[in-house]
Point group: C2
Chain length 505, copies 2
């Protein structure tokens, strides 16, 4: 249960309460449907309760606080709470706070949900979605998955279906193709035995956590960072420590935190950081590689998922900085992960980990317990794409990316001139700061009711997304805007955002 803290026990059962901002995160896209707001709000709270994300006996926020967090009137919240009481889902005793009726929740559950994914999982009807950094399928990829004969000859196709199909390490031909890709294009020397194939970058992160981090162990991340990493860390019971990175990571500060806490793992996105899009300078990378050499008990994970999405127009492989593991190719605590989801298509769900053979052996055992390996046949298709039209896809995606970033940044400068953001070097997202003392959570709620989904900054932060044990949540002035939609839609979305009353902005 995130965003909750213990209050005084009643009848021996500790009572938990949830803060208004934390509940707003869990509510996610509740207004993105038809019907009066109070009914939508009550329905969403019911659903979270049935799913066990709101615990038995949980005390809901005061009406006034939730109204402010959601940018709605207090009457809307009051009517929603009344409806919940009418339906037997909630109760208030003697005029006290409203709480979830215990028997309505499932028993098993100490469920800790991240509002980011909880929101994405909800079917919703927004006009423009700036929250999901998902790309459309590259045409070369769409053609190959629909007709594998384009990239595989009959013998190659038959070679896959003649096997048992179980490859916890990944299909050998794909392990080799990824190793070659890293060595030849990304300047990271790798052999096939150092590669495990994963179901996307998300599984790469999750397997590393499951295999290498014990509950309660400290893990260091940039703050803000990729919310999928926070979600996996939270579920694993890691003690997550954030190092500020809104304006770039300070290596001195990272070194201090690593030396103080001796974390099991440090998770970094040096190349086109999510959400800021910044490229970590070469000098900082060298500092971190030296820190890793001096910290053999800590794994340093370099998430290269966005590494082939530069906004500059040079060749994609002309990195201005090396992958961290390229600075110590034989150093066993430098681990790299990546994915083809942002370059080819998310529907492939294909990622990878490059690590020492010993770590790969542990990860393969963890992968066998998790799913016994990813689907086999598509791995042969992806190997062929890596060997074949890869550079052409990189070029196509680069043009796709620049046209979208230009449209979004231009529209923001024209219509919302008081918004600021660090100029991204690559990636798929902007990290925009709202002017004044704005609460981006309330702004995101208001935007949603105008048909535009954005991610409030707190969902990407260790200290406000509820990962820390205090977990009451703080507000954030930032929103993450993904530029993965067509340019016209991005411009329309900015016009909508600019029309939101100043109070919510």
């Amino acid at each position: 249960m995130i965003g909750t803290k213990m209050a005084e026990p009643i009848h021996g059962i500790p009572v938990q309460k949830i803060g208004a901002a934390a509940l707003a995160d869990l509510l996610g896209r509740w207004p993105a449907a038809e019907g009066p707001l109070y009914r939508l709000l009550a329905a969403r709270i019911s659903r979270l309760t049935d799913a066990g994300e709101l615990a038995a006996g949980l005390r809901l926020p005061a009406e006034r606080d939730l109204a402010a967090a959601l940018s709605v009137s207090r009457n809307t919240v009051a009517a929603a709470y009344q409806l919940l009481r009418d339906e037997g889902m909630a109760e208030s005793r003697q005029g006290a706070a409203t709480r979830i009726v215990p028997h309505r929740t499932t028993p098993a559950a100490v469920h800790r949900a991240n509002g980011f994914f909880a929101g994405l999982l909800e079917a919703s009807a927004v006009d423009v979605d700036l929250s999901l950094a998902a790309v459309d399928c590259a045409p070369q990829v769409a053609a190959a998955v629909a007709d594998p004969a384009i990239v595989l000859d009959p013998a190659e196709r038959a070679a896959v279906t003649r096997t048992s199909g179980y490859f916890p390490h990944g299909l050998p031909v794909l392990r080799a193709a990824i190793a070659g890709h890293l060595t030849d294009r990304l300047r990271l020397p790798a052999g096939a035995v150092q590669i495990i194939v994963t179901t996307g970058g998300q599984q790469a992160i999750d397997l590393l956590i499951r295999s290498e981090v014990l509950p309660g162990q400290p893990v260091v991340v940039e703050d803000p960072t990729y919310p999928g990493a926070l979600d996996a860390l939270q579920r694993a019971g890691a003690r997550v420590i954030g190092v500020p990175a809104a304006e770039g990571l300070d290596p001195d500060r990272l070194e201090h935190v690593v030396r103080t806490h001796r974390p099991a793992l440090v998770y970094l996105i040096p190349t086109y950081h999510n959400p800021t899009g910044r490229l970590m300078p070469a000098g900082h990378r060298e500092r971190i590689a030296r820190l890793a050499a001096a910290s053999p008990d800590t794994l340093f994970v370099d998430d290269m998922t966005l590494a082939e999405l530069p906004l500059g127009d040079g060749p994609a492989w002309a990195f201005r900085a090396l992958p961290l593991a390229a600075l110590g190719p034989d150093q066993p605590n430098l681990v790299s992960i990546g994915s083809l989801s942002k370059l080819y298509w998310g529907g492939l769900r294909t990622g990878w980990i490059r690590a020492s053979e010993g770590i790969i052996a542990r990860l393969a055992a963890a992968k066998a317990a998790a799913d016994q390996g990813s689907a086999a046949f598509q791995q042969a298709i992806i190997a062929a794409l890596l060997r074949g039209p890869h550079d052409e896809i990189v070029k196509w995606r680069g043009e796709w990316l620049r046209s979208r970033y230009t449209a979004l940044a231009g529209a923001l400068r024209a219509s919302l001139p008081d918004w600021t953001w660090p100029e991204p070097d690559g990636g798929l997202t902007l990290w925009a700061r709202l002017p004044g003392e704005a609460d981006s959570g309330a702004f995101a709620q208001a935007a949603l009711r105008h048909g535009v989904a954005v991610v409030p900054g707190r969902l990407l932060s260790v200290y406000s997304a509820g990962v820390d044990s205090a977990g009451t949540g703080t507000t954030s002035e930032y929103v993450r805007l993904a530029y993965a939609q067509p340019p016209d839609l991005l411009r329309a979305a900015v016009r909508t955002l600019a029309a939101i009353p100043a109070r919510s902005r």
Copy 2:
């Protein structure tokens, strides 16, 4: 770390030792390669150490004990230990026991490996593998994955690649196809909203454990049971309780255990139990459904992975017994899981969970954190196979299965007449009992050196596979024999097994 127990601490660090039988399990298929036995043994111990499966300072078994567990001479073990000492991997002080040198192991690791999967993960060169219950790819499936146009029209293919590709619940068309399949063929009423698509049956089990079982909570399984379930439970830190099932599950005994321990989850394989192949009678199913109705805090999981592999020659859907959840279709603690891996092909890695909408919501959140959904395109192919040639595939696989079972059972009766096994009703495996006081672990090691891989019974048992906290391991007289190889190979394998000297048998 499995199969270890604490001994007296040295220099304040607790020393662990591993029993001979437990180490033999972890060693898995060590002799299945070229070279002298002592070198192969030393190499495999080194590898386990590098992978963190043998912990820093771990005390290895006495030479005599390990030699007996591996069915090798004491000289072989002595030479292997000497080689490990020569290489700096192990040490013996003052003539005491041999132990792993601390600095050779990785720090993160309290790794608990299951010898079953550890063995399967090793590349090995056996002549006949009776250990893996993996089927070859059905021809209709091989054709469809290699050329999706056979089952999908151009609009259906384009409909998938036009999406973002992220479907934590599964591709909608496959969720609907699985719901229809369960309702129409397997007599289990289901709607698409009650289905989540998983990466094989293994992920179905793992997600349920991750979502619904907290570390330390009791979970009840049949003993023996599917080792992949034991592996996932072990990694999750569940307290696993086995109910004897070598001769079929006694519902009275199950009820007693459930009422005593109030487990979070009960995992059962009522239809063609793995490993025995037995079908649970209808009366027992009704008893268990009533027990579930009286135990709302416990999830009862019915693993239907093998349900379409009957050995009888009636139509596959003519079950002699209903799925457990069909006895209470709206009862939220009856959960069903399954997979197409044993009917279509393991390389599809496609399974499912049928549960209440509330549980599906939690599982989808867990799946988003684990991998954000399985690969999208193949899901459309599988939906088309379920709607199209499914019954034809069932018929083809039934003939495939019967010819293999007949070959294996006939050869065993002819060549090893003192082996016994419960007559299987379906599935892919025999649970054979060796005569006398045989230790099937030592027998499996001897078989491996003759080129035949079988699974020693202890790896399928809660109490001997090292899942229990005592974990010293007991021996088992059973071996699991999969009949997934061609009939000629099965007959050749039995001739090999029959030629193994009686001492090892």
